[in-house]
Amino acid sequence: MTDEPRPGQPPPAPEPKPAAPAKPPVVLPDPVFNTANGRLLFAEDRLWPNRVWKGMFSLPRYRNGALMLAGIIVAGTAFVAAVGELDSRVRPVFNWLSAQAAALSLPALLFPAAWIVVKVLAITGVIVAAPIFLVWWERKISAHMQSRFGPMVTGGFHGWLQTVADGIKLFLKENITPVTADRWVHLLGPIVALGPVFLAFAPVCFGRELAAADLDIGVVYIFAMTGVSVLGIMMAGWGSGNKYSLLGGLRAAAQLVSYEIPRAFSVIPVIMLAGSLNLTKIVAAQSGWWFDGIPVLPRWFIFYPVVGQLSFLIFLITSVAETNRTPFDIPEAESELVSGFHTEYSGLKFSFFFLAEYAYMTLGCCLMAAFFLGGGAAPWPFLSFIPSWAWFTVKVLGLVFCFMWFRWTFPRFRVDRLMDFNWKFLLPWSFANIAIAGLYVML
């Protein structure tokens, strides 16, 4: 009890603490000047492009990137060569399955029908998987053309899961039908736009023996199917009950229908030279080499003097126009018509249009690869260890890159000039081209 200090008495003086070392005065950085060293603040904090551009390849991250890219190419080539031709892998499975079906004495039509379902699923897989990759690729390409990075976070490596995340988002979004819209037309528009793409892919030959349906009228069939999609876009424009959509739909009708014509005519020389409408036979007609069989320049249709290049160019231009991409994105002209025919669409219905655009782009590039670039053929014999489906994919991706390149560097055409370009330039030249091809066939 004696230890407690009595009230009124001062408490015993505490032990004197050792003197704390003098703290350096806190210097708050001036927002403008870095007072510590008298230099500009941002000079160290921010990276100006001129400083990056000076020593681009001396920077370790660029060097690492180049090495990584080379590694990916080498590993991919090795993997693809190890897999080999797909038909040789699938045929044993098919034979075994058909033997089983015969042993079980199933009804005669059941097994072929089941096999068709397998093919349909495979094509659906291609159509759905291609846009997932292409959208990501397009975002990366556009970003690098615009000195940006594009998606970098989702999925870790350079945002490779971005499109999947976007797809989930679109799937979960609310489907809005405007009050003024014609409900059924509004609903059916995207379905009619997307549906024919699946059908149009049927005769496409993805490599050796890799066509779902080896149609003898393949070319005509594809053009017929792609023609139906215009209807879906018009329905979307009309059924949305929006003036901008209506204008977009009108423009789409005019543009797509007109560009169908030179597009079809530009393929006629190919058909004349190949002597068939079957895509597999068109590809087969391009085997061999120019200059007496010396393997330097393959006998692809694009290398036929004049006629090949002309029809390739016309087909390329009209394919861009058919997919509504810049410089022909007039139906959806973002800065004029907000988004044209798909202004009023959201969620899954919007993603249908999105999917259709990319699927048509893939289809167009597949056709170009088959018509003009020899399908799955290797350009030189020493590269033929890479299987045909891989060559086909590489060619398609190269052409898709051209599409994206156009889109991110060109401005948009004007409506009337677009029509002039089609009727006064493309169409006469495609006629002339047919005449030249006629000369070839006669000689």
């Binding site: 927002p31 403008v32 000047f33 008298g38 230099r39 500009l40 603040l41 941002f42 000079a43 921010r46 100006w48 492009p49 001129n50 556009s142 053309m145 615009q146 000195s147 940006r148 003036k243 901008y244 204008l247 810049t326 410089p327 994105d329 007039i330 002209a333 973002e334 800065s335 004029e336 018509l337 907000v338 991110w408 560097t409 060109f410 401005p411 948009r412 055409f413 004007r414 409506v415 009337d416 000039r417």
Partner: protein, 370 residues
């Protein structure tokens, strides 16, 4: 019996105020016949903030900050126009170094503003990539502004009697570094957009403003010069020390959209020249006039100051009744004047050309509505 005439309806389309290409909140009521425009009525006022009225209760020094908000893409020009008018009223002599600094900042800001024009015009025409290229360079300019003024958009840098503060150490070198980087980019823009055949096709044929019509409607700035009138306040009524700098006034020929576009691109080159000269002429000295009070009370009177802002002849009319705030402030906003010609220009054009013409006139709604 003659068949009944085909009944066609005209379509009324509201372009804006929430449209991606009206550069803010402009509404244009368009009457369409198919894709052809029969009547166009610009409707403004969606961004009205009442800065002119507000000026009557704010102190003279505070108005610089308000002036930033008129044409927010070219805040330095606004500051300068107001300060010139106020300095006439107060009879303040601005030191030479401050004059040069004002010119440097105004020209850099003109470049930044024209870069926005270049980018957004590209988007209007449908080319997306030029926009990001332009903003890459503008970002560097904003870094320069930030390091000097502390702000990236509304600088409040030019003050009555001089400028806010002197340049930070090393700033002129950094600025020259930027200019050296920037000059080759201009050629890049030309290859990317200016001489693209599709771009030429879309812009050379539409939106012609004749010399007479431009003068009658009171158009100014690059829009007027594109029509062939060699009018530039920097030459006609030189302020700061523009008489000392050697620069050209680019003039267009036909007054089409492309001329208006290319006039601006050439102006950027001239601005680069002016900045280089002004940086070379910078001598040590004060940047603020002596004896400018915190609370100003100019003698009763009127004054008018005008500058060549990025969008044209920007004038400020001040009336003082000897009080701590102006009796009246009026802004002659170039965007407002330039916008008026739209109703005449658009008739007979196509829907897609509306955007091209509107983009080429280059309005800033903050300045139109104030």
């Amino acid at each position: 019996m003659t068949p009944a005439p085909l009944r066609t309806d005209q379509l009324f389309v509201n372009l804006g105020p929430q449209h991606p290409s009206t550069h803010g909140v402009l509404r244009v009521g368009l009457t369409l016949e198919g894709e052809v425009i029969m009547r166009a009525e610009p409707d403004i006022g969606y961004l009205h903030r009442g800065t002119e009225k507000l000026s009557e209760i704010r102190g003279w020094n505070q108005l610089v900050a308000l002036s930033d908000r008129w044409d927010y893409c070219n805040a330095m020009g606004n500051n300068l126009a107001y300060c010139l008018a106020a300095e006439k009223l107060l009879t303040v002599e601005v030191p030479e170094r401050a004059q040069h600094l004002r010119a440097v900042m105004c020209e850099l800001n003109r470049i930044a503003s024209h870069l926005i024009f270049f980018g957004t015009f590209g988007i209007d025409i449908g080319a997306f990539t030029p926009f990001l290229h332009a903003f890459r360079e503008r970002e560097m300019l904003l870094d320069l502004f930030e390091s000097c003024t502390g702000a990236r958009l509304t600088y409040n840098y030019i003050r009555i009697g001089g400028v806010m503060r002197d340049l930070p150490k090393g700033w002129p070198d950094l600025c020259r570094e930027f200019l050296e980087f920037f000059k080759p980019r201009l050629q890049e823009y030309d290859t990317l957009l200016s001489f693209n055949p599709i771009f030429l096709d879309r812009t050379k044929t539409v939106g012609h403003i004749s010399r007479e019509s431009a003068l009658n409607w009171g158009v100014s700035g690059p829009n007027l010069r594109a029509s062939g009138v060699k009018a530039d306040v920097r030459k006609l009524d030189p302020y700061c020390l523009y008489a000392k700098y050697d620069f050209e006034i680019p003039v267009g020929k036909t007054g089409c959209c492309w001329d208006r576009y290319y006039c601006r691109m050439l102006e950027i080159k001239e601005s680069v020249r002016i900045v280089e000269q002004a940086l070379g002429l910078l001598a040590d000295g004060p940047v603020m006039a002596k004896g400018v009070a915190k609370i100003l009370k100019p003698a009763p009177g009127e004054s008018y100051g005008h500058v060549e802002a990025a969008r044209g002849d920007l004038g400020v009319h001040l009336i003082s009744d000897g009080n701590t705030a102006p009796y009246r402030l009026h802004v002659r906003a170039p965007s407002f004047m330039n916008l008026q010609i739209l109703q005449e220009l658009l008739v007979g054009q196509r829907m897609s050309d509306v955007i091209a013409i509107l983009g080429s006139i280059d309005i800033v709604l903050g300045e139109v509505d104030r």
